[in-house]
Symmetry: D2
Subunit: 361 residues, 4 copies
C-alpha cells in the first residue's frame, strides 16, 4: 500500500528523481468540479527547486499535464492522471554514493529493503516524489473549497534552527503573507533572521532544520473517524510520510503536557449557530473528530542529510571513508516543505469529508 | 476503515464502554504460533483499571477469551476472535453529560458526527476500546519474538507534567524495571516525584498529562514502506489513534531541529556483521525504513479531560452551566497507556515485518 | 484481507466450526438505524442446520447476540459485534480425515497453505463460517430497506441436478413463497420433484448440486463503481466466496452469448419518471452500474463433497484408501444457501449504495 | 477503490478513450525483475484495435512507455508508471449519442452515477481502459514466470455465438497455437466457422458474443485466501470487471451441477512428489485455494452493444428515436479479449502468490 494514500479520495504516486516522469493518479474526486492545469500549477511552482537562493539550484519548471479524468474543464468522476516530466537529469551526479551510503539518508535502508539501489539521485526517497502529492493536494483543496465556503489551509515556516516565529493569529493568515519572503515565515523580522541563518549554513556547506505550522480554517464539525482513523492520526500519518519529518503535534502538543486538566480543557461557548470553544488547546479535534475550530498542527523537519561538509563514515564494506556530497541540494528544505504540508493536509481533509458525506445526508 | 488497522497483520476492534463486551478480530497472524489466553492476559492486566491508587477505581478483571483461530494451543492462520466481557457497568454514572458535552471530550464531536450519543460512559471514545488493541498487540508481539530472536518493545512514562525522567539506556530496559513502581517510570527518584504529583492532582480533583517513550530493539533493517507507509508514519498514525494523545516524535524529534546537519547526521560504523550508526538521532529509521538501530519514539498525552473540579461551560443549547464530573476516572492515564503504546507499536511492526517477508526470500 | 469484505459497509468474520463461537464485526453501518437481534435472527434461522429432513441433522439454534454498536435499539454508527456460540461440538467426528484428505474438500489445500489442519469439522472452510455473513447481511438489508423504500432481495433454488424451475416473474416473488417448501423452490411442482431427488440422493449416501437465482428489486440507478469494482464484479466476488460455488452469471449470462447484438440489446423506454428497458438481458447493470431494472443473477453450486458413499482415493502419503465419510452433512446445500446468497447480495448492495451517497448529494 | 485492483501486487489505471493518454501504476512488483517495454508490448499488440479484418478499424499502435520504477532494465521495487498515448482521437464520432443513450451501453448509467457524460467514445467504459490492465498483467506474468518455472497462462476463444470449440487439452496449448488464426480459437476447423460467422455479422451491421476459456498451469498449491478472497472469488471479480462480461465459471461450472457428488469429486492420486487429482472438476481450486492442478475457467462475453443496425429506443427525454451507431467498433470483441483475460488472471495470481510468500518461508 506504500504508494497509495486515502480511502475515498485516493492518490497513488509514481516516479524517481531521475526517471522520465513523476506523477500521480487521483481517484475518487467527485465529478463536475471545474479543474484545469492552472488550478494545480501554482502549488507545484511553490514547491519547485531553483525558486530562490535558499533552495537547490536544480532547475525544473515542473509543468503538470492532466492526462485523463477531465473534459471541457470539468472532472468526470474518473481517475485523474497527472504527469510532470523530469528535465534536468544528471544521473552522474551521485556516483560516489553508490558505494558509500550517505549518513542519515535512505541509501542504506533502501538497499536493505530491496537489495538494490537507484544508481543516482536517491530514487524514490527523493523530494521529487512529492510532486505527485502536491498536484493531488491541489485538486483536493479545490474540491474542499467548492464544498465548504470559506475553508482555508495555510502552512508557514514557524522555526528554523533556534529562530522561532512568534505565535500567529489564524485570522488574516494567507499564502500571500507567507510568500512575502522566500523563507515563507509570515513575520518579517523573524524571516530576515531565518534567511541570514540559512545563507550562513549554505555557505558553510551545512544544513538547517526547523518546524512548519499549518492552520486549517472553515472545516465543519464531524470530520474524522473514531478509533484508528482519528483525524489527528491521519494527519500525523500524512505528515510523517513527508521526507525528513521527525515529529508531529496537534493543538497544545508536547507543551500541553505541562498543563493540568483544569487549565487545558477547552470550555464550550455559543459561537453564532454552533458551539465553539474559548481556547483551542485541542487543535480543532476532540476524540479524533473535528469540532469546528481551526485545526492547528506543527511538524518537525530535520536538517537536510546531504551536506557538502566532510563526514567521517564507512562504505558498504565497513571501510572508513570521508564523504563530501557534491550533488545539488537545499541547505534548508523548510520553505519548499510548506506547499507539501498543505497538500497532505488537503488530502486528509478531503478524504475525511467524503467519508462523512454519507452520514450527514 | 475506522475500526480496522493494518494491511497483512490486521486488527478490527469492537465495543463500547458499557455494552456487553469489547474485543477484536486479528486477521493475518501466521499459522502454527503457540498461543493461549495466558500470552495475552498479562498486557491486559497491566492496562486494566483499578490496579493501583493512581488509576480509576472502576474494577474490571478484563479476562480475555479466544473465540476462534487456535486449536491445541496453536494458531490456525485463521482469524483470531477475542472477547472481554464488560462487568462493572453503571450506565447511570454519566447522566448529566447527556445534555452537557464535557469540555475537551468526545461528547460533542460524536454528536456532530453521528447525530446521536452513547448515553453513558463515552461509548466508543472510552479507554475500554483499547482492550481489543492490547489483546491484538500481545499476539503481534508474540509473533515478532518468535520471528526475530532478541526483539523487545518496552515503553515507560518519561514525564508527568513538568517532571522529566532522565534519558534511559535502551540496554537493560525491561518491563519488570518499568513496573517496579505503579507510575511505570523506571527511574526510582523520578517515579516518587511523579506519584506524589499525581496524588496531589487526584486529591485536587484535577488531572495531569505527560509523555510516554517507547524503545523497540532487535528489529531487522528493511521494515517500512517508502512514501506513504513509512515506518514512522505508521507509528505516528498508530500512536495518535490512542485516546488523549497530542504529539509524536521519533529519534531527535522536535529537539533535533535545533541541530545542524553536520551535528545531526548519524555516521555509519561497522557493528558485527551489519552497518550501524554511532549516534541514533534518526530513531532507527531512515527514508521511512528501519536501519537496525533501536526504534525510539515519544508520545505526548494530554491531561485527562474528565475532572471533578467545577468547569464553566455551556450545554447543547448554549446555556451556561457549571459541570462537575462524578464518574470514575483516572487522574493521570500515563501509567495505563504504557501497554497500549507497546501494543500499537507491536501491531505496526508485525505488519511491516510481514510486508517485508516476501521481499527478503 | 481474507476475512474482511466491503469498503464502506464492511464485515469481518471469525470462527471455526468447532471452536467456541463464530461471528462478525460490522463496521460502517450508518447510525440511528433501528436494530435488535430480532432483525437478524430470522435469516440465521433460515440458514441453520437441522431445519428439515433435507439438511444435516447437526442441530444448532444459532442464536445471535449483539455485543456492541447499538443502544436503546438503535445503531450508534460504531462497529456492531455479533456472536453465535457453537453448541453441538463433536470434535471426534472427523478423526479419519486427519490423514485422508477428503476429495474435492479443503483439507488438502488448507494443509498446503498453512502447514496445519483444523483437527475436525473443516475449520474455517465449514459452512458455519457463513453465520457471520448472514448476520451481517441481515443488517445490510435492514439499512437498504430503510434507505430505499420498496427494495427487496429474494433468492430461490432454481435447479437441483437436472430439475429446472421454470422462469419466475420478479413481481410477486417473496421469501414466504420461497419458504413454502423446505427445498425453497417457489414453483410447487418443481419443488416436489427436487425434494424427491434430494431424498433419493440422501438415502444413496450421495449428494446433489444445483443453482440459486437471486432477484434484487427497487434499487436506484447509479450503484457500482466503474472499472474494477463494477457491481457485477463485486457480486461475482461475493458469490464465488460462498463455499461450494462454481459459477456466476448475471442477466442473460452464458445463454446470452447465443444471441446477436440486435437481439440482446435492451431498448430504452420511459417508465414513470425514469428511463427503463423493455427487456433485461443486462440483468440490471450496464457498464458495471445499476440502471434501475431488477438485478438478476444465478449461481452454480456443486454437489456436496462430503458423501457417505465409499470413495477410492489416497492418504497424505499417497497410499490408496477407501473413504466413507461419517460426519453429519447435507445431501444438498441449495436450500440453506438461499439466505447466504441474499446476505452477500445485501452486503454488496449496501456497500455500493454508501459509496454512491457522497456523489448524489 | 474503483480504479485499483490487488492487495500486494496492485494496479491502478487511468484514462478515457479520447483523452491524452491511458495507463497504469503498478505498485508492489518485487525488485530486481528484468523488465523493459519489450516485455509488455507483445500483449498490448495482441489487444490493440485494427489488427485484423475482424476488429475495429480504429488504428492505434499502443506503444507503451515505462515512466518510472526501473533502472538499467530491472525493477527497483518502486511503483512502475506506464503510459500509452491516445493517437487516433476523433471526438466528433459519437455526437448523436450525447442525447440518445445507447441501448445496453454505459451511457445512461454513467449519467445516473456522475451527473455527466464523457462527450464521446464512452469515456472510462471504453475498451481502451483495458490497456492499463494488459500492461500491468504483462508485468505480473513476467514475475510469476520468474518465480514459478513452467508456469503458463493461456486463454482462447472457446465459442462464438453457437459455434463451440471442442475441449482442448491443457498440455500443448500455447499462445502461438491460439494466434494461428485471427479469431484466436486453437481448433482450426472451428476457427474457420467462427471467422465466417463474425464476417457475416459485421456485414449485417450486427455483433456476436461468445466465451473465452483460460488455462493456468504450473501454479503451486496454497494460493488463494480462505473466506472472502478465495482464488475463484478474486478471479470472478477480475473477469466480471472486464467490459461486456456476463458470466464466470470455474472447473465444472454450471454443467457440474448436473453431476452427483460421487461423480463430481476429484479423487486424489500421487503425482510425482505431490498429491494430484484424477479428474479436475474442481478447476484447480478447493476451498478457495489452489491445489496444484491447472486452474481452468470460462467467461461469457455478450454481443457488442454498439451496432450499426437501426435500433428503436428513446432519448433522455423519453422521446422515441431510431439509433444507428456510426463509430468504429468491433463486430465481436472475443479475439481481443484473450490478452485481457490473461492479464487479469496474471494480476490475480501474482497477488495471491505474494500473499502466500510470507506463509511458506
Amino acid at each position: 500500500m506504500s504508494s497509495t494514500f486515502g480511502t475515498l479520495f485516493r492518490v497513488t504516486t509514481f516516479g524517481e528523481s531521475h526517471g522520465k516522469a513523476v506523477g500521480a493518479i487521483v481517484d475518487g474526486c467527485p465529478a463536475n468540479l471545474e479543474l484545469t492545469e492552472a488550478d494545480i500549477q501554482p502549488q507545484l511552482t511553490r514547491r519547485r527547486p531553483g525558486q530562490s537562493a535558499l533552495t537547490t539550484p536544480r532547475d525544473e519548471a515542473d509543468a503538470v499535464t492532466i492526462l485523463s479524468g477531465t473534459e471541457n474543464g470539468k472532472t468526470l468522476g474518473t481517475p485523474i492522471g497527472l504527469s510532470v516530466n523530469n528535465k534536468d537529469q544528471r544521473p552522474g551526479d551521485y556516483g560516489e554514493m553508490d558505494v558509500v551510503p550517505r549518513p542519515s539518508h535512505a541509501d542504506y535502508t533502501y538497499l536493505m529493503k530491496y537489495g538494490n539501489k537507484a544508481s543516482s539521485g536517491g530514487g524514490r526517497s527523493s523530494a521529487r516524489e512529492t510532486i505527485g502529492r502536491v498536484a493531488a493536494g491541489a485538486i483536493a483543496e479545490k474540491w474542499l473549497k467548492s464544498r465548504f465556503g470559506g475553508l482555508s489551509i495555510v502552512a508557514y515556516v514557524s522555526s528554523v534552527n533556534t529562530i522561532e516565529c512568534p505565535p500567529m493569529e489564524a485570522e488574516g493568515l494567507t499564502r500571500e503573507l507567507v510568500d512575502a519572503t522566500p523563507v515563507r515565515c509570515p513575520d518579517a523580522d523573524t524571516a530576515a533572521k531565518m534567511i541570514a541563518a540559512i545563507e550562513e549554513a549554505r555557505d558553510a556547506k551545512d544544513s538547517l532544520g526547523g518546524t512548519v505550522t499549518c492552520i486549517c480554517r472553515g472545516l465543519p464539525a464531524g470530520l474524522g473517524e473514531p478509533v484508528f482513523d482519528k483525524l489527528e492520526a491521519k494527519l500525523a500519518h500524512a505528515m510523517l510520510s513527508i521526507p525528513a519529518t521527525k515529529g508531529f503535534e496537534i493543538g497544545s502538543g508536547f507543551a500541553g503536557t505541562h498543563l493540568r486538566g483544569s487549565q487545558h480543557n477547552d470550555a464550550f461557548v455559543q459561537k453564532g449557530d454552533r458551539l465553539g470553544t474559548t481556547t483551542n488547546y485541542s487543535g480543532g479535534v476532540q476524540g479524533g473528530i473535528s469540532n469546528g475550530e481551526p485545526v492547528v498542527f506543527r511538524i518537525a523537519i530535520k536538517p537536510v542529510a546531504t551536506i557538502g561538509l566532510a563526514q567521517e563514515t564507512v562504505d558498504l564494506d565497513g571501510k572508513a571513508v570521508t564523504l563530501e556530497a557534491k550533488g545539488r541540494h537545499d541547505p534548508c528544505v523548510l520553505p519548499r516543505a510548506v506547499p507539501i504540508v498543505e497538500a497532505m493536509a488537503a488530502l486528509v481533509l478531503a478524504d475525511a469529508a467524503l467519508q462523512q458525506e454519507y452520514r450527514i445526508r
